[in-house]
């Protein structure tokens, strides 16, 4: 079945200093811009999850998995608080939208060993990542406008929401030109 949306392009470009905020420019790490172009192929508006909600690194495949979706979220989070609700944007029928997110290099992950000890793991986009797999969730119904903490049931995740589509960016051998190569 054809999906209502398609990710038509995934790009990764290194940011120049003048494209960064002062905090980013002074952080001492490299910054990249991950750009997804998404096309609504349907005849009705769709609501697209706009925030990166999960990031995972598959060291075996050297793949960075970036999800604008919570379909793979675990049932239980060890965190105390509630995540903020994700942002959504509406894409009109037959229209296209561009989602841009900055990614630092390195990205710091926290790994927990079997004995419960935690240590950071640094993943560098230029050296450690051959491919970035991007997943975007969308739906035709608008998300709830307000998260009322006194409501009987408050979503603490958006696990079941929407349908997802995926596309990948692959590093070219020269790593200079970075474009989508597969879907």
């Amino acid at each position: 079945m054809q999906e209502s949306i398609e990710i038509t392009d995934v790009r990764l470009t290194e940011m120049a200093v003048d494209q960064m905020t002062p905090v980013m420019a002074q952080s001492g790490v490299s910054w990249y811009r991950l750009t997804l172009t998404v096309r609504n192929r349907s005849h009705e508006p769709i609501h697209l999850m706009w925030d990166i909600r999960r990031i995972r690194y598959d060291a075996g495949r050297r793949v960075l998995v970036v999800q604008l979706s919570e379909h793979d979220a675990p049932n239980e989070s060890p965190m105390v608080g509630l995540p903020m609700p994700p942002r959504y944007r509406v894409i009109g029928a037959r229209e296209e939208a561009t989602i841009v997110h900055p990614l630092s290099s390195p990205i710091t992950f926290l790994e927990t060993s079997a004995d419960g000890a935690r240590r950071p793991r640094y993943v560098r986009l230029a050296e450690d990542v051959n491919s970035i797999e991007c997943t975007v969730a969308y739906e035709t119904e608008p998300p709830p406008p307000v998260i009322d903490l006194t409501a009987r049931k408050v979503p603490d995740q958006w696990r079941g929401r929407g349908t997802t589509v995926t596309a990948s960016w692959k590093a070219s051998p020269s790593r200079k030109e970075r474009k989508k190569t597969s879907e």
């Binding site: 909600r53 990614l103 903490l149 006194t150 408050v154």
Partner: protein, 483 residues
């Protein structure tokens, strides 16, 4: 026990600044460093008590440990969420082996800021100290025993406490039950926080000597030094353990050096010409050397260009080769004074004659501040090597030679290992693999580094380390490992 602040990721100054804001800059809030990994917060109230400072006092004096870790906005939490999904702050309950842990995005969404809603539905700024206070409220109620089981109720409880702090510092109150948050500018009130003292200027605080010498924290040389520091410090666990004592020592002596530079223009000028600029070029040279496949003409030309640029800059500033030679000798002498020849070499403590006294002055400033001066001895040795090459270039136009490359390689391989750095054999395989891939890519450099590390390694696990060196192609199995 108390509140601990993570040092490992390098954002501890900003986290401490947030805690200072919570106690309204009460000078009774201090830190000590019991291990290389953390700062321990102590608090004796010296100012009139307010709600937020009383809260801090309770937390610091509780038997339970709370660990606060400053991270950047792309940090990924153990459950796979980036920290931005939690509005820049999130906590995890403690376990038998782990403290209550709080993560805070010190970059505030990469400089874009976070916002939440007020009671009218307008969006208002969520400043970082408020985020820290919100997370500490979760921890406080965990310790108090009135922590709700339900996640919504926990948020309502923490927002209530957050609003007490907001009211105390006269910033708009947050909606008590609307759990909305986002990044970017708020619709109301702007993104200012009523600080009780000037905040540390972002990430610049720890390049203060270079910033003062160059005249700007944003100058390309300073940005480059900052990049190199962050990049190598975060390379791996061992890289952090090796570099942190050096950085810790820097934090202790650098404010005094900046103070002296502000009152002595000659010292400031000498720091710029004979310390900051050489370090900038030395980093360039070292990186070019480590990246190169071999000691070929192309590499020597690249290194020579860097030395030539420095010499040209000195020439424009009217510096003679003889003056430069004085600085080079001073750096070499100070390296010995801070290193193995510490007892034998006495250094000049004054900054009277520049540049001859520059490195003696620096060594005399560094030495009393801590025992881990070995990193600075190594750095001064590298600077002396570079300055020596610059003298050769300036006097008789002599370019980079194979002998210089050998000396550079040997210097890099003698990467200082502080005595307090807790390098473990359990981490060695992963760490040595990273070092081989990212730093010591050349077989010769790997072998030199292996010998250097073996000479300092605890005897009990030397055979295991030697075996790893063999597996990872640092040393041949039959290699003599005497340094």
């Amino acid at each position: 026990m108390t509140i601990l602040i993570d040092v490992f990721l390098g954002n501890h100054a900003m986290v401490f600044d947030d805690l200072l804001q919570i106690v309204l800059c009460d000078p009774g809030l201090t830190t000590s460093q019991p291990t290389p990994y953390v700062l321990q917060v102590a608090y004796q109230q010296k100012q009139q008590s307010v709600a937020s400072s009383s809260r801090m006092l309770s937390l610091v004096n509780d038997a339970t440990t709370i660990l606060i870790i400053g991270v950047n906005n792309t940090f990924v939490l153990p459950d796979g969420n980036p920290i931005t999904a939690f509005g820049g702050g999130v906590s995890m309950p403690g376990t038998l082996t782990q403290p209550i842990t709080i993560w805070v995005d010190v970059t505030e969404a990469g400089g874009h800021g976070y916002h939440v809603r007020d009671t009218d539905g307008a969006t208002i700024y969520l400043p970082r100290p408020v985020t820290v206070y919100h997370e500490l409220a979760h921890a406080y109620h965990m310790l108090l025993g009135d922590f709700p089981a339900n996640k919504q109720a926990r948020e309502v409880q923490a927002i209530h406490d957050e609003n007490t702090f907001r009211a105390q510092i006269f910033i708009p109150l947050r909606h008590p039950t609307d759990h909305y948050g986002d990044t970017g500018a708020p619709s109301h009130g702007g993104q200012t926080f009523p600080t009780c003292k000037p905040v540390y200027p972002g990430f610049n605080w720890d390049c203060i000597v270079a910033s003062a010498a160059v005249g700007s924290p944003h100058a390309p040389q300073v940005e480059e030094l900052r990049r190199a520091r962050r990049e190598y410090r975060s390379l791996s666990l061992w890289a952090t353990l090796i570099s942190e004592p050096v950085l810790d020592l820097y934090r202790k002596f650098s404010p005094g050096v900046v103070r002296d530079m502000n009152t002595d223009p000659a010292l400031r000028q000498a720091m710029l010409l004979y310390a900051v600029q050489p370090i900038f070029h030395l980093v360039q040279i070292a990186e070019s050397y480590l990246r190169a496949e071999a000691d070929d003409d192309e590499l020597m030309a690249a290194l020579d260009r860097s030395v030539g640029e420095y010499v040209a800059d000195l020439s424009k500033a009217g510096v003679s080769p003889r003056t430069l030679a004085t600085a080079a000798e001073g750096a070499a002498f100070a390296a010995r004074a801070l290193g193995a020849d510490r007892a034998a070499a006495a250094v000049h403590a004054s900054h009277g004659e520049m540049p001859g006294d520059l490195y003696g002055y620096l060594a005399s400033t560094i030495a009393p501040k801590g025992s881990e001066a070995v990193g600075y001895a190594w750095a001064f040795e590298g600077i002396a090597l570079f300055l020596g090459q610059a003298v050769a270039k300036g006097v008789d136009q002599r370019g980079v030679t194979p002998a210089f490359l050998d000396a550079l390689g040997a210097w890099l391989a003698r990467l200082p290992i502080p005595t307090g750095a807790l390098l473990s054999i359990a981490d060695a395989r992963v760490e040595l693999k990273v070092f081989a891939e990212r730093v010591f890519t050349r077989p010769h450099a790997r072998a030199q580094f292996a010998q250097h590390l073996l000479a300092r390694w605890p005897a009990a696990s030397v055979p295991e380390l030697r075996s790893l060196f063999s597996d990872l192609h640092y040393l041949r199995p039959d290699h003599d490992t005497t340094e």
